[in-house]
C-alpha cells in the first residue's frame, strides 16, 4: 500500500467515528463538561500519537511552536540580536515547521468540534473567573498573559509542556517528562488553590 493510500485510510479511520459522533451530539452551549467520553478522547489521542510518530516522525507537542513564532518575529524586529541568543542560534528553532502547523490545526479542529457540538462560547471572560474576580476583561487578560509567559519560560526550561512532556514524553517512559509532569500539576494546583480559595 502506498504512503498516500495508507494516509487516506488512516484519515478515514479517524474521521468516520468523529463525524458519526458529531452528527448525534446534542446542542449544549452551556456545557461545562466534556461532550464525548474523556476516556474515548484520551485513547484516540494515544492513537493519534502513533500516527504522528509513524507518518511525521514527530511527537505531539505544542509549546515549541510559540517559541518558533517568537523567534520569527524577533528575527524580523532585531535580527542580529535574535541570532545572538543561545536558543535561537539553531536556525531550526525559528521557522514555520510541523509544530506551528499542528497548533494552527488545533485552533481549527477545536473550532470544528465546538461548532459541530453547539459549544462555541464567543466570550472574553469564563463565568467561573467572573464569579471570583469580577467583570474586568483587562484583569483576566493580564493574568492570562502573565500565565502564558511563565508557562513558555517553564516549558522551554523543562523541555516541553503538558503535551510534549505530559503526553508524549510520559508515554515514552521518559524520567524527565514524569518529573516535569509532577511539577506542572504541583505548581498548577498550588497556584489555582491560592487564586480560588485564598
Amino acid at each position: 500500500m502506498s504512503r498516500r493510500n495508507m494516509l487516506q485510510t488512516a484519515g478515514l479511520i479517524v474521521a468516520t467515528p468523529m463525524l458519526a459522533f458529531a452528527q448525534t451530539e446534542a446542542v449544549n452551549p452551556g456545557a461545562t463538561g466534556p461532550a464525548w467520553s474523556p476516556y474515548l478522547v484520551g485513547a484516540l489521542i494515544g492513537v493519534l500519537s502513533m500516527f504522528t510518530f509513524y507518518f511525521s516522525d514527530k511527537a505531539l507537542g505544542a509549546s515549541t511552536a510559540f517559541a518558533s513564532v517568537a523567534g520569527l518575529i524577533g528575527r524580523l524586529i532585531a535580527p542580529r540580536h535574535t541570532d545572538s541568543l543561545h536558543y535561537y542560534a539553531d536556525k531550526k528553532a525559528s521557522k514555520i515547521d510541523w509544530q506551528v502547523a499542528l497548533v494552527i490545526g488545533v485552533i481549527i479542529g477545536a473550532f470544528l468540534a465546538a461548532w459541530s457540538g453547539g459549544e462555541i462560547t464567543g466570550r472574553w471572560l469564563p463565568p467561573m473567573w467572573t464569579e471570583r474576580f469580577g467583570e474586568s476583561v483587562w484583569l483576566r487578560l493580564a493574568v492570562a498573559f502573565l500565565g502564558g509567559g511563565l508557562m513558555a519560560f517553564g516549558a522551554r526550561m523543562a523541555g516541553g509542556c503538558t503535551s510534549g512532556h505530559g503526553i508524549s514524553g510520559a508515554m515514552q517512559l521518559s524520567v524527565g517528562s514524569w518529573i516535569a509532569l509532577l511539577g506542572f500539576f504541583a505548581g498548577g494546583t498550588a497556584t489555582a488553590m491560592l487564586l480560588f480559595y485564598a
Binding site: 461532550a35 485513547a43 484516540l44 489521542i45 494515544g46 493519534l48 500519537s49 502513533m50 511525521s56 510559540f66 517559541a67 517568537a70 523567534g71 518575529i73 543561545h86 535561537y88 510541523w98 499542528l102 497548533v103 490545526g105 488545533v106 485552533i107 479542529g109 477545536a110 470544528l112 468540534a113 459549544e119 462560547t121 464567543g122 466570550r123 472574553w124 463565568p127 483576566r140 487578560l141 493580564a142 498573559f145 502564558g148 511563565l150 513558555a152 519560560f153 516549558a155 522551554r156 526550561m157 523543562a158 503538558t162 503526553i167 521518559s174 524527565g176 514524569w178 518529573i179 511539577g183 506542572f184 500539576f185 494546583t189 498550588a190 497556584t191 489555582a192 488553590m193 491560592l194 487564586l195
Partner: protein
C-alpha cells in the same frame, strides 16, 4: 516521473532532490491535519474549557486525567509496539533533574494563572474563549524572554542532574516489553480508582 521509477517505494519520493519544497509542504500539511484532529479531540474531551482545566487544578474535576491517562496508556503500548517492530523512532528529551523540576513548577504556576496550557489554549481559542488570545501572546513573549536567558540557563541550570536520555525501563532495569504492560496496568488501575472513588462521571 519516468514510468520505470514508479516501482520504487513511494517513501523515496521524499528524498528526491527536486522534491524538497514538496516534502516541506507535505510535512506542514500533515502537521495541520494532525493538529485539526488533536484540536477536535481536545475540545470534545472538554479540556478546552476553563472550568474543566481549573477544576483539575482545584482537584474537583478529573476530566483532564481521564483524557491524559488513556492517551499515555494507548500511546505507550502503541509506540513501543511500533518501535519494537522497527517502524518508528523514539523522540525522548533529555532528563535534567534541575531544569525539569524548576521549569515544571514554573510552568505549573503559569498554568494555574492561565488555566489553559499551550495545546489546550489553542483549542480554547478555537472554541471561542477569547481570553486564550492573551495566553497565546504570553506564550510567545515568554519564549523570547526565555531565549534571552537561554545562554545563562544552559551554563547554570541545565547541568544540574543532567542525565541525558533516561527512561524508566533503564532506571528500573526492566525491558520495555516487561515495563510497558506493567505501567499500562498501573495507569489503568489509577484510572479505575479515580473513576470509582473520586469522579465517577462517565
Amino acid at each position: 516521473m519516468a514510468q520505470d521509477e514508479t516501482r520504487k517505494p513511494s517513501r523515496n519520493e521524499d528524498r528526491h532532490p527536486d522534491g524538497l519544497p514538496e516534502k516541506r509542504m507535505s510535512e506542514l500539511g500533515l502537521g495541520l491535519l494532525f493538529g485539526v484532529i488533536f484540536g477536535f479531540l481536545l475540545q470534545k474531551g472538554g479540556v478546552a474549557k476553563y472550568e474543566v482545566l481549573i477544576g483539575m487544578l482545584l482537584l474537583e474535576d478529573f476530566t483532564v486525567m481521564k483524557v491524559m491517562l488513556p492517551a499515555v496508556v494507548v500511546g505507550m503500548v502503541g509506540i513501543y509496539a511500533l518501535h519494537s517492530a522497527g517502524l518508528v523512532k523514539l523522540h525522548i528529551k533529555p532528563t535534567r533533574y534541575g531544569a525539569n523540576t524548576l521549569g515544571g513548577i514554573l510552568f505549573g504556576i503559569g498554568f494555574g494563572l492561565a488555566a489553559y496550557c499551550p495545546g489546550t489554549g489553542a483549542a480554547a481559542l478555537g472554541q471561542g474563549n477569547f481570553d486564550a488570545i492573551a495566553v497565546l501572546l504570553g506564550l510567545m513573549a515568554g519564549s523570547y524572554v526565555f531565549a534571552e536567558a537561554s545562554g545563562w540557563l544552559a551554563r547554570t541550570v541545565n547541568p544540574w542532574g543532567d542525565r541525558g536520555v533516561l527512561t524508566l525501563d533503564r532506571v528500573l532495569h526492566l525491558k520495555p516489553r516487561v515495563l510497558v504492560p506493567v505501567m499500562a496496568t498501573v495507569l489503568v488501575l489509577v484510572l479505575v480508582a479515580i473513576h470509582v472513588f473520586v469522579d465517577p462521571r462517565p
